[in-house]
Symmetry: C2
Subunit: 393 residues, 2 copies
């Protein structure tokens, strides 16, 4: 009773009431016309979300399932790919590629930094046998936004597919697939899409479809060409995650009702709010530039135990944040501000962080960090999304 729980992690994210009521609807059959009608209604809006004229396939899996589907469906053992590794999910690309017995060229980036497109271009120039570049849009473990648009400009001139994990990026910051020359874009349901986990979405470019058609799929469960054939009938290859598709129908309505630009503007403004707020309370954002629009990572103040800080924020104030993973465990907080989260939720999270730092004996400079944060939010809403603030963030 004392606190409401506020889930501000970089996924899963809170569910809107409209979506929750849709999830609670009674079951319908996945091979009957009522379901096909929903699939048909969902499809053009998914294409709008992905910025593509290609079909967007729904898969019954987590996001990692879709990453597996991409690697196992586009590349055969022994083929060469370049993997951008600058965090836990870059490592996941590498591990999936290794499990498929691909030859891996790794472009390593220090955690907290975005890849330099020219570093990728150099490797591709040296080795024309590299058939794909695997990268994240948003590297969820650090909060970095990789320069996918610039990478697309490099790969589209070559016989090399750009495969983008957009799990914590799609629906949060722009990633128009066709325009940017992305060959495979995938996401999960539990981030920008405001749904529970368990549904993944994946689209291929026409040249990626050619590759998929010529590749023996490495895993029976993930057969992209057969999924595409079934989609033409408003179905999935195997049993659909029906209630997530019904929920998706609702969440797409919400995402598109004021246009995607309004969603991106909100996400950018929330990012400005969060960064301004944490800086005004004396904390340091972990990512200096090219930060993602749905997650802000913050260094835990020197001398404080990050795991304990996270526990106080949750137990005393009801605000659920994520900590760091692997080498960043205990060293950063990750504040998720994606999906069904608004300015007041984030202000609450900022105050919970501040009060908890002070409760642990840390200090914050005097001033009005929440007021400054709100100013930054309102100012950001007035400018095109992505415009750097006048005072630099």
């Amino acid at each position: 009773m004392l606190n409401k729980t506020r889930l501000l992690t970089p996924g899963p994210t809170p569910l809107p009431e409209r979506v929750r009521l849709a999830l609670a609807r009674d079951m319908i059959h996945h091979r009957k016309k009522d379901f096909a009608a929903i699939m048909d209604r969902v499809q053009p809006r998914l294409q709008q979300l992905f910025g593509t004229s290609q079909p967007v396939l729904p898969l019954s899996s987590s996001g990692t399932g879709a990453m597996t589907a991409a690697v196992y469906g586009l590349f055969s053992p022994g083929e060469k790919v370049l993997v951008v590794v600058g965090g836990k999910f870059g490592e996941r690309w590498r591990n999936i590629a290794a499990s498929r017995h691909l030859e891996i060229q790794e472009v390593t980036v220090p955690w907290g930094h975005a890849v330099d497109p020219s570093a990728v271009e150099e490797v591709l120039d040296r080795d024309p046998e590299i058939l794909g570049v695997l990268v994240q849009l948003s590297e969820t473990s650090t909060g970095v936004l990789h320069p996918v648009q610039e990478l697309g400009a490099i790969t589209k001139k070559r016989d090399c597919l750009l495969v983008v994990d957009g799990i914590s990026g799609v629906g949060l910051s722009p990633c128009p697939m066709d325009k940017w020359g992305i060959d495979c874009l995938l996401t999960g349901s539990q981030k920008g899409l405001m749904l529970p986990p368990g549904l993944a979405l994946l689209a291929l470019s026409s040249r990626a479809w050619e590759r998929a058609a010529a590749t023996e799929p490495g895993c029976f469960y993930f057969n992209l060409p057969k999924e595409r054939n079934k989609l033409a009938q408003g179905q999935t290859l195997f049993t659909s995650p029906v209630n997530l598709i019904v929920g998706l129908d609702e969440s797409l309505d919400m995402l598109l009702e004021n246009g995607l630009e309004a969603v991106y503007a909100k996400q950018w403004a929330l990012t400005m709010l969060t960064r301004t707020g944490v800086q005004a309370m004396g904390l340091t954002p972990y990512v200096k530039e090219r930060f993602a629009w749905g997650i802000t990572s913050v260094l835990v103040p020197e001398g404080l135990d990050g795991t304990k800080l996270l526990a106080i924020i949750a137990d005393r104030f009801g605000v659920v944040l994520a900590g760091g993973q692997d080498s960043l465990k205990g060293r950063i907080l990750r504040i998720g501000h994606m999906g069904w989260v608004d300015w007041a939720d984030v202000l609450g999270a900022l105050q919970a962080v501040k009060s908890s730092v002070i409760a642990m004996g840390g200090s914050c400079p005097p001033g009005d960090p929440l007021g400054k944060a709100m100013e930054a939010y309102l100012a950001a809403l007035e400018l095109p999304p992505g415009t750097p603030p006048p005072n630099g963030n």
Copy 2:
């Protein structure tokens, strides 16, 4: 307004209100203690459902995902397996085994019949290199119940794993994994478990775990040993289908509140109700013996168009049944009576079938088929589940 829709297909099945409200709960994080508490609460009840002391792994996939996980996690390319093929899902086992490049010995059974255990034994006697037998508990495409207990008696004496697809069987008829010597039992959420599709469950025997530990998993997304390690922390390897696990917590309460025996007794009695009813209205059950306890297949009367019959049953009476698949398309109706379906729902389905047959110009013998069906139901409830009725069905 005229009709309520009644979903009586062999999966997905209707959702109880308790489950639907659980599915609508707001999101919680899959790596935090609240979720781990649910996972810990669910696990012993899943073990009870499966009849095993081994862990039961939740996977974010359809049932076919779990079938893939079993084949790709227990067998390596070039190894030999025996596949029982007597319907569409036996064919699915074969196709998954082929995609894993296994050497396949097929025991073919005419559709509508159960496999003869001695036919399996003969093949195993001839070829001791066969490392696994893949079979369905309930072959959903026909409504046959394969003799899994008898197969277990054969395989447990050999170095040969018994791998059972229990997708439309678990929670519907007895299948105690440890007692029957089953080495891998798997199911999906959308049948006896009264949940939406999207969650699969899989358990291995101790000797199957040894095999899994010695096998390089064929697909990154399905890594059974790593899943087991994560389960010990109340987590899954990749993002959990959170709201289905929350729903599972509720549906297991319902399934176990009067004991599993009561669930099986109900399922058997519904089966007796359905078979008696269709026979009393002059229709012929497709499966003569060894029929499943959650689905009754019925031959479409000579001269009637089965696809049209199905459409009339749905459009005029709101009763959604399944038709036949592949070579049985248009030739059978499949009445699902599994999960959150009771006697009155099935009586409604029977009446809808009868009225639709008559509407299409077919005839039914005079008499009171629903009354007879109800008598058979009540009589079956008085006897141990599985007891054949005195007049033979």
